[in-house]
């Protein structure tokens, strides 16, 4: 019993170590803002192989659809709203996305490295 407790404590101490936390932390957030039918920033860099949360806020007066064909995401974001997209661990590479409703200007990419 005490052994198990000690093991659990040791494990949580290990999990709290900085290097370990980064890979296993599902709360690691990447922030995107839609303004004037463009993404800010247009390129986000994430760590390959680590899941993360993509937080997208639409500051425009009209709705926008965040779409990535590569990542199978089609997500309407109403004006003034924020959505949190749980992203899987990505392999190293470039994953383009667009604002489907303003695809001419609203373009960006996620670079996993």
């Amino acid at each position: 019993m005490i052994g198990a407790l000690a093991a659990a404590l040791a494990f949580s101490a290990l999990a709290a170590a900085p290097g370990v936390v980064l890979a296993a932390d599902p709360q690691s957030e990447v922030v995107l803002v839609i303004e004037a039918n463009r993404f800010q920033p247009e390129e986000v860099r994430v760590k390959a192989g680590a899941p993360f949360v993509l937080v997208v806020t639409n500051r425009d007066p009209g709705p926008e659809e965040f779409e990535s064909r590569e990542l199978r995401i089609e997500k309407v974001i109403p004006p003034g709203k924020t959505v949190r997209l749980r992203m899987p661990a990505l392999k190293a590479g470039t994953y383009p996305f667009v604002g489907e409703y303003h695809a001419k200007t609203a373009k960006g990419r996620i670079v996993a490295e």
């Binding site: 007066p61 009209g62 709705p63 926008e64 659809e65 064909r69 590569e70 990542l71 199978r72 995401i73 089609e74 997500k75 309407v76 109403p78 004006p79 709203k81 924020t82 959505v83 949190r84 997209l85 749980r86 899987p88 661990a89 392999k91 383009p96 667009v98 489907e100 409703y101 695809a103 001419k104």
Partner: protein, 282 residues
């Protein structure tokens, strides 16, 4: 204008095609008096789309993060189930439609099928309906704020063009012989349903319900997801330039299983009529 036209045409085309097919089905069943069930299904799909569009603008937090995606996935798999049932039903009853006496029996059974046709119309419209409604609403608010009319005009024109294409499918379908109509519809529905099935699996992967798998190949040089044709192929038959293992396996399994279900009945009928022919000619 061209950009907004393409968006609404692509989102409306699948719905228009399915509506054209189910209306033509009723015509071929000799049950035109029951068009209202399909109309009702389509109208309810439109109402649901508007309600969903309104709901999305009021939702926030986890409900907005996940709610629409879960509804979307549920609609996709419901549509796959309905289309499979419909294709299977057609393959069983196609032969009964060929003689007039049998036709009347089939008509009676066809009326039981009407609720399914209504539901197909509903899911067909509802699947991309909310997105189209929100898109058009965005265009309207932009126009009200002084943007040029061209964007909105393009969006409306895209919906109208999709409807016109659906009408063309309907007209063409009603001119085909019953046998050709069932054969053509079976193939089209099979491809649409297989595409929907793999799209649904891809959505489940994106939602983290199914494990994420690597892309099996990359045909984006040949036909990119981002091109005009690629976009239509994605919406209609589930084309992906970089499909995952799960999507490809699901697509193949569905094609094989439902293909046997859709065409198996026809082959059995073909065998039966084939064995009859020599006796009549001798």
């Amino acid at each position: 204008m061209a950009a907004t036209f393409v968006v609404t045409l692509r989102e409306g085309f699948e719905a228009a095609l399915l509506l054209g097919i189910v209306y033509a089905c009723l015509d071929r069943f000799g049950a035109r008096q029951h068009y209202r069930w399909v109309t009702l299904g389509g109208a309810l799909g439109l109402v649901a789309s508007v309600l969903m569009g309104i709901a999305v603008t009021f939702l926030s937090g986890p409900l907005l993060d996940l709610g629409p995606d879960l509804v979307g996935a549920a609609v996709i798999f419901a549509a796959v189930g309905l289309l499979t049932w419909h294709g299977w039903w057609m393959s069983r009853h196609a032969h009964a439609m060929r003689s007039d006496v049998q036709r009347r029996v089939a008509e009676a059974e066809a009326t039981r099928q009407l609720s399914i046709l209504g539901l197909i119309a509903f899911t067909g419209v509802f699947r991309e309906g909310a997105e189209t409604v929100l898109f058009l609403w965005g265009l309207m608010s932009q126009t009200a704020e002084g943007a040029s009319w061209w964007g909105l005009a393009g969006g409306v024109l895209g919906v109208l063009t999709a409807a016109a294409l659906g009408w063309t499918v309907f007209r063409g379908g009603t001119r085909l012989s019953v046998r050709h109509f069932f054969a053509a519809t079976s193939v089209v529905l099979l491809l649409i349903a297989a595409g929907l099935f793999s799209t649904g699996l891809g959505k489940l992967q994106a939602l983290g319900v199914l494990p994420v798998t690597d892309a099996l190949w990359d045909s984006s040089a040949l036909l990119s997801d981002h091109s005009l044709v690629g976009g239509f192929a994605t919406g209609l038959v589930g084309y992906r330039a970089r499909p995952t293992l799960v999507e490809v396996t699901g697509y193949m399994l569905y094609l094989i299983t439902a293909g046997a279900l859709f065409l198996g009945g026809r082959r059995a009928i073909g065998a039966r009529s084939g064995s009859r022919e020599p006796t009549s000619s001798s």
